[in-house]
Amino acid sequence: MSAPEKNHLLPYAQREDFHVGRATDLTGRARFFYRCLEILPGFASWSTLVGVVLLSVYAPFIAAYFVIAFALYWVLKTAFLSYHLRYNWKRLRHHMSLDWQPMIERFPYQNFYHVVILPFYKEPIEVIEASLAALSKVRYDASKIIVVLAGEGRAAEHAAMIGTTMRERYGSHFGHFVTTVHPKDLPGEMAGKGSNASYAAERVRVEVLDPQGIKYDQTIVSIFDIDTVLYPDYFNCLIWHYHTAENPLKSSFQPVPIFNNNIWEAPAISRVVAMSSTFWEMVQQERPERMATFSSHSVSFQALYEVGYWQSNMVSEDSRIFWNLLMANDGKYSVIPLSYPVSMDANAAPRLWQTIGQIYKQHRRWTYGVENLCYILYHFSQNKNIPRKQRITVALQQAEGYWSLVTNPIMLFILGWAPIFLGGQEFHQTVLSYNLPIVVRDLLILAMFGLVISSVISLTLLPPRPEKASRFHYLVMALQWIMVPATMIIFSAIPGLDAQTRLMFGKYMGFWVTPKVALKQK
């Protein structure tokens, strides 16, 4: 990007390394430093896991006490998170019950426009139509909504077909209906959602905002995964939060993604994993200082424009945009939780094994968000305008998050027993050795009460039961939470470790598009 082209960017965003995606994008010492940062998460996780094994062999008594302490920590952490979850559930339901339209009347929102970007690749027309149908039914002035259906040049025919069909069906519903096709193999880009969305955002600026004289600071961009189904008051809720925000142009707005579009058709394992992801986002909604944007979110166009839109050379652009904005604004940027849902698809394929494979790959992609930790640490070392306390706090929070994601489930459910098997005869004959599995098991049973809360809340988030599904399904959906220890390891810890190991060895991942299919109702 040439200097004049960068004039609209914030000063820090004009740096050559602002949009660094990986160490190979840099040179010299910066490259070496960034490479070390890429090694750090995987090294820390592997060191922890190997350390627990070594401790079990050479100091089993200390390992046993550590395991007990860790199990107790887990129980209390579960209680802590469950409290946040329950509170957000209460707030979410309250927000869903509110009539937001009268609440925004006092705000001058009539001049505001909403750009809705819907990037897609090869998703079937049913999935795309469901999203547009829901969008056309929102309780908001449709003339103020600019829909951007962003297809991929790698699937040009499909993109053209979808664009034409959807324009015919929904073009007249909205103020503007833009279809774009992101050219494939643009230099410096990685094929993925980020590059597609950025291309679409620039196209809508050039083709709609500038010609129509729509102000950037009065335009809110909402980027949704293509399977996102909006609830009717989404834009009203968004406008309310936007206008009550302390600094709306320095804020992103995060709804709660509930993966329940196809929840009645998806297998149990898919439901548990999907709901777990939702619950994690609900917990985060009550501690916004730890939040980054995730999946579908909204942000002012001006903020986006000031950082050059979403990063197009990396995988987890949905979270990276928040870190871009935080760095470019010298730490004065935040995420505002909406506590209002958007519905998305649970990961499901026609066959169970395909579903399991897809969930694994999807979570590996999500946990590859650890690449953001390198970005954060790198730019925290560069941008001294961000207060030191904020840099340290955020860095530790994010590092702990990625470390615990990978290590905690494995330590708790697998390595917790290591001292018993590796501790030697001297340890084996002690009361501590015999009591270790009993104490840990009892603590984990205690922690399972957190699952009861999850189970109850999940039932309240279900869409109406289809006629073909019996009431027995409710029982299954309540009991399915027993699988959580296994899903935590298989779909959280292991893909996380996989992702961190790849990054550690410089085996950079590309963007894997989760296949979306329209499942037949059972």
Binding site: Y87, R91, L98, Y434
Partner: protein, 378 residues
Amino acid sequence: MKPIVEPLAYWRRKVIFITLLLAFLFSLPAFMFYATGYRYDIFSGSPSITATGGLYIAADAVDSSIYVNETEVTNARVFRNASYIQGLEPGMHRVHVQAPGLHTWVKNLSVYRHIVTEAEAFNLPLVPQVRLVTEYRTQADEAVFFMSSTTEEMILPLASSSVPYIVSTSTATSTYRLSTEYALLFDLFEVKASTTKAAEVELTKPFSFSTTTDAEEIVQATTTVVRNNVALYQEGEEVYAEALGTGRQIPHYFCTSQVEIKSSLGDELEQALEVKEGELFFEDTLNELSNNTRECRTNIRIDRRNQEVLEFTFLPENANLVLLHLESGIYVVEIDDRAWQNMQPLYQGTGIEMMVYGGSVFVREDGLIFEVLTEIAS
């Protein structure tokens, strides 16, 4: 106008966090002390913290009950076929393991603070359980026993058979088939008898039992049997068990831990490790346990009740129990000699022959071959 339910206030989150942090800090020592074996006896006259130990009793018998100091244990943690009894005060404890129709296993076991004393109970049937191996079998594969009357007591008056067989008063065999198992066992008993006679003539020549199928068991000579790093050998009239392995390979009853030795030294060390002026020396305990090593013997003499040992080997699939063929019958004796060695009769009688083959114990008595079972068939 704004939503009634406000976002969770930061101060509330902080209060909850601090509360849980305090809960962690205060309860963690309690969990660690509990796991190490410390118990607080609130109901005694003078409540105090004591360091306790435990017992781990393995018992294969179905429906067996465990008694410690004449009190049935009902709150034991069960690990498969074993029970873990914790919170026992250091000292000697008498353990009974009993079940209906089975011999009772009794042992005095020392419990040491922070240590779990392991023991393996065994309970043989009070009435020997046998399975007849007859020369002929029906087409439905039932054993056929020929005799002049059908009174069962006359076949094996001291035993019981839960495996069905047919008593035939006729000597006609045309409708039956020959039992290959009987033929094999008969031959084996004959070979063994002749070899034993030859051995008596030429005592110095060792022989190996070629029909032995247990891969773990190596019969080096008539006087040495090895299984799982434990050897049984005869020296003079005595039979000994010898631990051949090192470290974890040595069975626990060959060894005494340093903690056990220190415990037996008296009250001074006991007090130093437990409570001194109201303060728990947890670090000392950890150091002591961490540095704990085992002192192991290599030989244990097997109790033969002053009878001549005609033959000995391991009980099939068990390296802790010895099968002794004595003058008065066949017995099972445990190697574990803490307190005493439990001995239970498997099949009593004089003039009987014994053979272990294919993981089973076979006996030939008055020309009748049968398998002696170690448990009551369900």
